[in-house]
Symmetry: D2
Subunit: 351 residues, 4 copies
């Protein structure tokens, strides 16, 4: 079998680099194009010397049409607003696309406008795009022309909540998501607030009201629950490179507040028992970000606090892995009809 040809537009951010890491280890794909506006003419490994000998492809700045012409699939790792100006041309050129921005993640315009404050240039694509969580939209992804790769917080939150919402075990009202993210989630940029000495040995909340990912989480939770849901979401910044943790509080669905921890765990285990990249923690074990570093795994556990009657759900993933680039590769495998764990099965950062 000849290898699938994959290009990345916007390859030199942290998500781009993680895509290159994943694709370099993938047996059935070949990277044909890496584009970068800032570093055109350099090699990818000039920007990321860790890739020297692994990926020395030259960075180009071709048009979307040119890129599309060299690829079976183009992955765009561009800012929102920029993606929506690029993706239509790619699709018109006949190539399939996985996009990493927020531009195609919404079913309707309203939450996009609310969260991103932009007018959408191609709203007609929203209904065409498939939300790229394979555990939720596997069958649609198989034929997707355009996959909208989810945000890291939504992936971490929605996969953790899905079984309980789906089976009506928790109330859709009053869900609180308290989330912690590594610094790489902010991208590769020269901003003082992200300088080493400003962040090292420090942690804090940020964007505590209306963080952009809130509406994305709500959309997917609402879809699963079959009714509109609003969630309280608070992100925090933790001084590590990779990792994300969600601690989620929810009320049991029963009218009398009763709740069976066994039922919660059974739902979690059953729903994910055939999922290659969801690991349900055993017993009282708890998700820990280092356990998922460099992987496409999400680790989830659930517990119940009898003192206050709240369900606690915990989930951890790598914000660049299952939270971004590696999930995109998982979706790509589905789109290409490959076994879903191709190239991902043993990927990990190690200690």
């Amino acid at each position: 079998m000849s290898k699938f040809k994959v290009g990345i537009i916007g390859a030199t951010g942290y998500v781009g680099a993680e895509l290159v890491r994943g694709l370099s280890a993938h047996p059935d794909t070949r990277i044909t194009v890496l584009t970068s506006r800032s570093f055109t003419g350099k090699k990818f490994s000039d920007i990321y010397p860790s890739f020297s000998g692994i990926c020395d492809i030259g960075l180009t700045d071709g048009t979307p049409e040119e890129t599309a012409g060299q690829c079976d699939l183009v992955i765009t790792a561009l800012p929102h607003g920029v993606s929506s100006a690029t993706v239509p041309t790619l699709l018109e050129s006949g190539v399939r696309v996985i996009d990493h921005s927020g531009d195609f993640r919404y079913r309707t315009l309203e939450p996009y406008t609310f969260s991103y404050g932009l007018e959408h240039p191609c709203p007609e694509l929203l209904s065409e795009a498939v939300y790229g969580i394979p555990e939720l939209y596997r069958s649609k992804l198989a034929d997707a022309k355009l996959t909208a790769n989810p945000g890291c917080y939504p992936t971490c939150s929605v996969l953790a909540l899905a079984p309980f919402l789906r089976h009506g075990l928790i109330s859709p009202d009053g869900i609180v998501i308290d989330a912690l993210s590594a610094v790489s989630g902010a991208g590769r940029k020269a901003d003082l607030p992200f300088a080493f000495c400003e962040l090292d040995e420090s942690f804090k909340p940020y964007s505590v009201i209306n963080h952009r990912h809130t509406t994305e989480i709500e959309q997917e939770c609402s879809f699963i629950a079959g009714r509109e849901i609003h969630v309280t979401f608070t992100p925090h910044l933790i001084p590590v490179k990779r990792g994300m943790l969600a601690t989620i509080y929810a009320h049991p669905a029963s009218s009398d507040g009763s709740c069976s921890l066994a039922s919660l765990r059974e739902a979690l285990e059953n729903d994910y028992k055939d999922e290659r990249f969801v690991r349900v923690m055993k017993g009282s074990a708890l998700p820990t970000t280092s356990h998922v570093a460099g992987t496409n795994y999400i680790d989830i556990s659930v517990d119940f606090d009898p003192r206050t009657g709240l369900v606690k759900i915990f989930s951890a993933l790598d914000n660049l892995g299952k939270g971004a680039a590696l999930q995109a590769i998982q979706a790509m495998n589905v789109m290409f009809g490959l076994p879903e764990d191709t190239g991902l099965a043993n990927l990990m950062s190690g200690l």
Copy 2:
């Protein structure tokens, strides 16, 4: 004025070392005794070389009576269960005591037994002990024979919640406290789970059901609210040396869910406007742990999420500072009739 004589029992843990740091910079006290079972005969600066030239006092292992005889005040930094076996003798010897364990923090036996699983050897002291948050119990502390220095999580949580509970602005029901702690909170010990390579670049929840500090938080919140409160509390471990953050979710008290952010901020500012060590954040600024590193400050802010109708309260302190040793010095100042910020006003770690 001759200096007050202070001794520390259990001086070589991290809380002990922070006490020595604070007392070394204190103009009106003199450290007369430092005890250590493990390092008797060595100098304090042999164990903590950073103190060489600052505190070179020899470590002794005298009886409580001997220690009491050399001090106006003894600060005990011992594990729970050990404190309650030591403190009565100190008090009988006529010395005043500030204790860092959980042994004397409770007004009643029940929550102590629930959280610590121990039979209390001297329950009669519970009513005598004063809970050592000066912002709450300043007048009682002035005459206290025994001060029970609070836990770090309770200090961080209770001071953040107090104004809103006191003024009836939030409901006492359904409070969720999601808290993050630095590693030093676990103490100085040679356990594999606390080894550098096990924790570096990793974060996780722990003790997610019935962490010991839950009942302590509930006791103080209940007292302020004038009715019994149960809180949902979840601690997490963050790979830094010092720092603690609480993100707290509460419902507005109004029956219709309405809430005035201005009223919340006004209550916070008013209640703490004369407090030297509580800093209310201005505008949308948020507490950040590096801002309180090495200090006795607690930084607090409040916000309101109109999307879900929840109040969000944020507070940060240094778990060894306002969360432990420096708050003990603040309480000591009150007990000695000194200006409350003596020796603490300019204490900070710097960058």
Copy 3:
């Protein structure tokens, strides 16, 4: 082709875990045995939850004979002194061995006794063991029954010095090796000096006179230079999980102190131009530990200080990668007649 069967004795240390990471991604091997005295009966992924779904093999505590019977190759990750008591039995059982301790790295007894202070139980094996740096001993490794995997500092130092000693470009006298190591080099243990709060935000020299690896470095440098060499070696501990850097100072070999930087760089490039896992830095680029994290690469550069007439050589590797487990897999590939980069070509930690 059926897969080669590999076992690891002492699988639950950090080197063991890195071996499992590497072997799990290796297409031509199968892990058949993982032994652990401390954790017998548990699964490997119980000890390292990051491996859940990747390596869930049960840990056993069989005899060396039993282990040998299930393997084509046994990799021992045991302390010195323990290895030398185990390896002879393995060899007698007919299995090939790669050993990670210092027990079989020496050609003669004297430096071993000097550095390890032990009487060697099987000195006759020293002449049989092959020192496991493929770049130096590739042909011998092909037939080796016993490979002594080198120390991390020796690998980092010897590969950096080899071209210049080999071509007589630097003097064998007066070489100074100043080396920095990540914390994982100390192994997985519950010692207070390796606790997170003791090491975080701190760095220091250690074992500054006669660190054990000194004699190992000297042996290999002497062999290359064709005369006895003593080196000055100073290790330092840096608060990161993975990574090692050597900064090496040497005098030019010329009697008049003259030195051609071009010649130095040419020797470095020529000697390593066909080596898959040695990356010679271009121009003035310098080795950086994050660039080799999780890889089997060593990055090397050379410069010349005209002010003082000293040659400066820099090399970086991952102390668990090329400095330990992944180099063992590289050696294993040679021993099995596989392409040397099998399973290693794309291995990296990512950001």
Copy 4:
């Protein structure tokens, strides 16, 4: 006694903030002016919220004359080239100055031009400036109009070498200084190479040929030795916020290579026995950067490697403390005739 009035020009860099930390804890000074071009009109604590309640002075952008008029001493924390354009005006206004740049550290123009590549606008001030290491130039500092605060690497290196050069115990030839620095040494700036994700978990050499501080080290070592000295100097970047370590290699001075470790240690101890901020390590203890964090101390030890006949000297300081701002305060104390440890005696970061 009324307090000395001190102003800081360029107060919002990391050195400026450390000066404010030190001066805030100083009993005999009062900060009267803090200038900042970037943040004029804001309070210092707006830029560094950790100082809220400690230093809330407003940032101004007055002329040097205006600043001078409000101060007994002005401390300039400006880049080289900018200092030399500002300091003459300050001096002409009659105020004393401590400058942090490289502009006034040299006795002669040549090394300044070599290292900084600038034409010096006021070379006549070079002979007037006193190099601000109190341990070396205490008596001159007492009357200094202009103190040139040394670089961090020179302070760390020169104080470590001084006793051995002074007493002729080491050869002035062939000295190698291998130094490690925390990230704050690069200053407060929004550059990608200093972004958290670029530096965390990584270490590397940099500026390995002709780092600017080389000539400054050489000037002072030459002065002590009484002859011209060239040193080999290599800095490295370590992912921590504060701290610096020098590992120095030198040949014994004796013609036969003999060396007495006892003599080395005696020289070190004798020369510094009355120095308040130099701590000579006892026995085989080694300097460790966390031991000096936030302090004005430098820790030094010496050892001898009998294997190779080299002397090894180790020194640690805080690059912002004894390496910059706190040493400036020590010099200020000398200039004001105050006890040298005023305000510095107990300053430390703690754990």
